[in-house]
């Protein structure tokens, strides 16, 4: 066993999850592949969404994968950073909007 939870080399082995459940693994990868095809959204737009979500999910494998994917598509580092800020804004907003819940509770409990 590795001495760390994450090993960059494990990203290459992602496909091997099908070995222990071929049907579900294949269904997942078919779905995954289809999601990222050109559609109503361009593959480029999807790549930037994936990069933002990779950060909010704090998945190091996804950050590796979609940073590289962005570079391959010619996406600039400025565009990538803006996408990360979109993710961060939603994360921050999601925390802060719960402040309303706190305020509601205070208002309810206080005389």
């Amino acid at each position: 066993m590795a001495k760390t939870y994450y090993d960059p080399a494990d990203l290459r082995k992602f496909g091997s999850i099908t070995e222990w459940n071929e049907e579900l693994g294949n269904k997942f990868f078919d779905y995954y592949g289809k999601v990222f095809e050109e559609g109503t959204l361009t593959a480029r737009e999807k790549s930037l969404i994936a990069l933002a979500v990779a950060h909010t999910e704090q998945c190091p494998y996804c950050i590796d994968a979609y940073t590289k994917d962005g570079l391959q598509r010619g996406i600039t580092k400025e565009e990538m950073m803006e996408a990360v800020h979109v993710g961060a804004a939603i994360k921050g907003g999601a925390t802060l909007v719960h402040g309303v819940q706190m305020m509601n509770k205070v208002n309810k409990l206080e005389m």
């Binding site: 570079l71 598509r73 010619g74 600039t76």
Partner: protein, 351 residues
């Protein structure tokens, strides 16, 4: 940014054999990844053999005004290997009789060869269908004596193919040197001004895109659209096609991969993206490469690795197309660079 070639720095990767040894050891020796020979054998494509000869590619010398980070030629101002007029004359004899429809001049910066113009004038008399000069663009702005190159190219109906790694200055200058982006933009505008790259124009102007780092090129058509939009909107520049070319793990790019600890990941990426359809159309099957000193190679990459053609005919002075076409193509692990994804060649994707 490098300012000297690996040769000048006496880096051990300047030696072709050291590069070949590196590419055959490690992950390929311990069986982690299949060798290129094993991989193409899986689809019964070994040995790789030539198809109809279409392109004769001549390297006029390794001297260049730029020292690009990724250069597979290890070209630069300090390289003195230049094709002599005598070798050019031998090439002209071959050009007059070849069945190839395309003549492709490369370097270094081919324009820096002092006999370049004479050679183009002579070679154009042979009436070859597609006469390419691979120009790095900045040479056109490097010195007054090159300012008229767009007109010279036009006069001889040269097909200009030029490198442009990105439509933003940062990435371009990082790969190719400070100020390269602005000089390239100016050169492209000058080429447009004489008619190159304009819609419907017979004066062909194509751009070559190389990734500026340890990643593979994206979809060629999508990149072309991005380039066209950005260059048109920002600089009013037009061009015909974009060729997306994968960086092969040799010479300065190999040095960069090793130094930046990207070598293994890059080789994995190439092997994972292996496409047998690309193997069938890989450029060594329709091209012959001639070095500055007249030796013959399966491609420009094999030339840099000093892997001469496996034929009794190895030099332009003994050229015999029929015999050369009977050879087997020499391969090594660098060949994965031409078979990844949609494939890669000096003419862009192949699959």
């Amino acid at each position: 940014m490098a300012t000297k070639s690996l040769h000048k720095r006496e880096n051990e990767l300047a030696q072709a054999q050291k590069q070949l040894d590196f590419l055959s050891n490690g992950i390929f020796k311990n069986g982690e990844l299949p060798t290129f020979k094993e991989k193409i054998a899986e689809t019964k494509q070994f040995p790789l053999t030539p198809k109809k000869l279409e392109i004769l590619q001549l390297n006029l010398g390794y001297m260049c005004n730029q020292v690009c980070e990724h250069c597979h030629v290890d070209a630069g101002p300090d390289r003195k290997e230049i094709m002599t007029k005598e070798t050019m004359q031998q090439c002209l004899e071959v050009i007059k009789n070849t069945k190839a429809h395309t003549l492709d001049l490369t370097g270094g910066a081919p324009e820096m060869n002092s006999n370049f113009r004479w050679f183009v004038e002579e070679a154009s008399k042979a009436g070859i269908q597609d006469f390419i000069v691979r120009s790095n663009l900045t040479i056109i702005r490097a010195n007054k004596k090159y300012y008229d190159l767009p007109e010279f190219f036009k006069k001889h109906n040269i097909h200009v193919i030029s490198s442009m790694p990105h439509w933003t200055p940062g990435k371009t200058d990082k790969q190719r040197g400070k100020g390269v982006f602005n000089a390239s933009i100016k050169a492209l505008q000058e080429l447009n001004a004489v008619g190159y790259g304009m819609p419907g124009s017979n004066l062909r102007l194509d751009l070559v895109y190389n990734p500026s780092g340890a990643f593979l090129p994206g979809d060629q058509k999508a990149l072309e659209n991005e380039f066209k939009k950005a260059l048109q909107d920002n600089f009013n520049i037009q061009f015909h096609n974009l060729f997306a070319i994968t960086n092969l793990p040799i010479s300065r790019f190999l040095d960069y991969l090793i130094a930046s600890d990207n070598y293994e990941d890059y080789m994995y990426a190439l092997v994972e993206a292996y496409n047998p359809v690309a193997v069938a159309n890989v450029m060594c099957t329709n091209t012959l490469s001639v070095s500055w000193d007249g030796w013959l190679y399966d491609c420009d990459f094999n030339q840099m690795l000093e892997l001469k053609v496996a034929s009794k005919i190895q030099h332009i002075s003994d050229y015999n197309e029929e015999l050369l076409q009977q050879r087997n193509i020499i391969i090594s692990q660098h060949c994965y660079g031409c078979t990844a994804g949609a494939g890669s060649s000096c003419q862009g994707t192949v699959a």
